[in-house]
């Protein structure tokens, strides 16, 4: 009997580790790749697919603009990644709460609120212009809706969401470097 219990515990532990590995590494890789390549994998639940489709364009355009501006301002990708790493779930929800409760007139207001909740060791102001150029208020409304929904459903948890964002940033950085090499810059 003892042997059965021990075997059961081992199997459950292995499954848990496997699930964790699948979710935190494979799943986040998979989703990040899907975003970057603009292709929706059929194995992802439809509910998540719909949300991915809804934010794919602004997310791709936004991260591309961010990487370009980052290079133009001599900020390294590590700086950006550390901002993502250092953002806590509490900070993210405080930001979401303030965005929800503020009458946002334009993307400039959105940037002001967002900046207040992000800690960075460089001047975030450099991203104001690209943010205003690449985001419309209709997209902000949509992203806010999706973030509020995810807060309720926890389809993608905060740690996984951060991993996905970091992987997208790294992919866009790779694309940017590749383009520069091709163009002989």
């Amino acid at each position: 009997m003892k042997k059965v219990i021990v075997s059961f515990i081992i199997v459950v532990s292995l499954l848990s580790v496997g699930s964790y590995y699948f979710y935190q590494i494979y799943f986040t890789d998979f989703i990040a790749q899907a975003f970057v390549s603009n292709s929706l994998p059929g194995v992802v639940p439809k509910r998540i697919q719909t949300r991915m489709k809804a934010i794919s364009v602004p997310l791709n355009k936004g991260t591309e603009a961010l990487i370009q501006k980052m290079h133009a301002s001599d900020i390294s990708i590590d700086h950006i990644l550390s901002v993502v790493d250092n953002t806590t779930e509490e900070q993210a929800y405080e930001l979401l709460d303030e965005l929800n409760s503020t009458k946002l007139k334009n993307t400039n207001d959105v940037f002001d609120v967002t900046k207040k909740h992000i800690d960075a060791d460089f001047n975030l102001e450099i991203f104001r212009k690209p943010f205003q150029e690449h985001f419309k208020m209709t997209q902000v409304r949509k992203v806010l809706y999706l973030a509020n929904q995810n807060r309720k459903t926890h389809d993608v948890d905060f740690v996984a969401a951060k991993e996905i964002i970091k992987k997208i940033l790294l992919e866009k950085e790779k694309e940017y470097t590749k383009r520069r090499i091709v163009n002989g810059e």
Partner: protein, 142 residues
């Protein structure tokens, strides 16, 4: 409850707004009761040829080619469409005072703002639908 041939018509060139309205319809269990159009020309063609009896039209103001005000004017000027008396409501993000005045000059049934919050937009939308479901209309007269 709306019949299958009484679609809610949305006219908006912004795909992000289509997404929001689609989510609102899903939330209100109206998944099979709406049709989206990206511009005024496409909806005019539909209205002139369909056998559907559209329940209501939600229209954005600022659109390329034919804008919302021009569409409303075209409907008013078409005798058949005017007789159908389809409630016509504007939904806009940041309308000017002049646009609001112009809209009411074209006898629209309402002018609403696209709210920042999904819940607020959904509630406004629900309120309008409930109002028109209660309201007597040429289509509801037997």
């Amino acid at each position: 409850m709306l019949a299958a041939n009484e679609p809610i018509i949305f006219i908006d060139d912004d795909v992000d707004d289509h997404f929001i309205f689609e989510e609102i319809c899903k939330n209100l269990n109206l998944s099979n009761h709406y049709k989206f159009f990206h511009n005024g020309d496409a909806v005019l063609q539909y209205l002139r040829t369909t056998t559907d009896r559209p329940f209501i039209i939600f229209c954005d103001i600022n659109m390329p080619q034919m804008n919302g005000l021009q569409l409303r004017k075209a409907i008013n000027e078409d005798e058949t469409l005017r007789e159908k008396s389809i409630p016509f409501v504007f939904f806009s993000t940041a309308p000017s005072n002049q646009q609001i005045r112009q809209a009411y000059g074209l006898t629209v049934q309402g002018f609403f703002l696209k709210e920042q919050s999904f819940e607020e937009t959904k509630n406004t939308f629900k309120l309008i639908l409930e109002y028109w479901q209660k309201c007597k209309h040429p289509n509801s007269i037997k």
